[in-house]
């Protein structure tokens, strides 16, 4: 299979970090889509954007590492575009707390997010 050139995939991520045990549940879909050179929009809903922040040791909590692989996403794309969106209020809370995301994120309201979504060829709720 080869990606059709202009195909734009929107991934909608609802789960915050470790809401599931595996760190790879949504990540693997995004990484794969990137290697297929899809144009990629990723929408982090509410606290799901916490998947992108820096975290300490996860082994003591018996949790697998992995979320930092989000940072490798831009490097996997050849020609395709990547845009990442997250809730402005949630990003503001992170900023106040001194936390940064490992990917550049567009802060937007729910409504603005939705205006972006309609430009995707396909939306996948993860």
């Amino acid at each position: 299979m080869s990606a059709m050139p202009a195909f734009r995939l929107g991934l909608i991520v609802h789960s915050t970090a470790y809401a599931q045990r595996s760190a790879r549940t949504q990540l693997d879909v995004a990484l794969l889509a990137a290697t297929l050179d899809f144009n990629l929009h990723i929408y982090f809903m509410g606290n799901a954007v916490l998947q992108l922040i820096k975290r300490g040791d996860t082994a003591a909590a018996l949790l697998p590492a992995g979320y930092r692989a989000w940072a490798s996403l831009p490097g996997l794309l050849e020609q395709a575009e990547l845009k990442v969106f997250a809730d402005v209020a949630c990003l503001e809370r992170l900023r106040r707390n001194g936390q940064e995301t490992c990917l550049p994120v567009h802060a937007c309201s729910a409504f603005e997010m939705r205006q972006q979504m309609v430009h995707c060829d396909r939306l996948l709720t993860l």
Binding site: T16, A17, Y18, N47, L50, R55, D57, A60, A61, L94
Partner: protein, 87 residues
Amino acid sequence: MSADPGKVQACLAHCAAGDSLVLLNTAVSILLEQDWKLALETGVAVYVLADDAAAQGFTQQSTAWKFIDDSAWVELFQRHRHCLSWK
């Protein structure tokens, strides 16, 4: 004991002085919200599982809560007759 940030407020409403509240798993993200403790009675001690907080990327100290390890969690469990879960 709460493991879900969406359930913490319901949990707080059931707390009374002398209770202990333990935040674990994804519930530690509630610490991001400035006003999360508004509905909490005074006299409720708040604990946060340190290993979960580290895994979630929340390590800021505060006088509003205390980080505890798993053995202190078991001590709290022993000290209280009932342990309720809000997950």
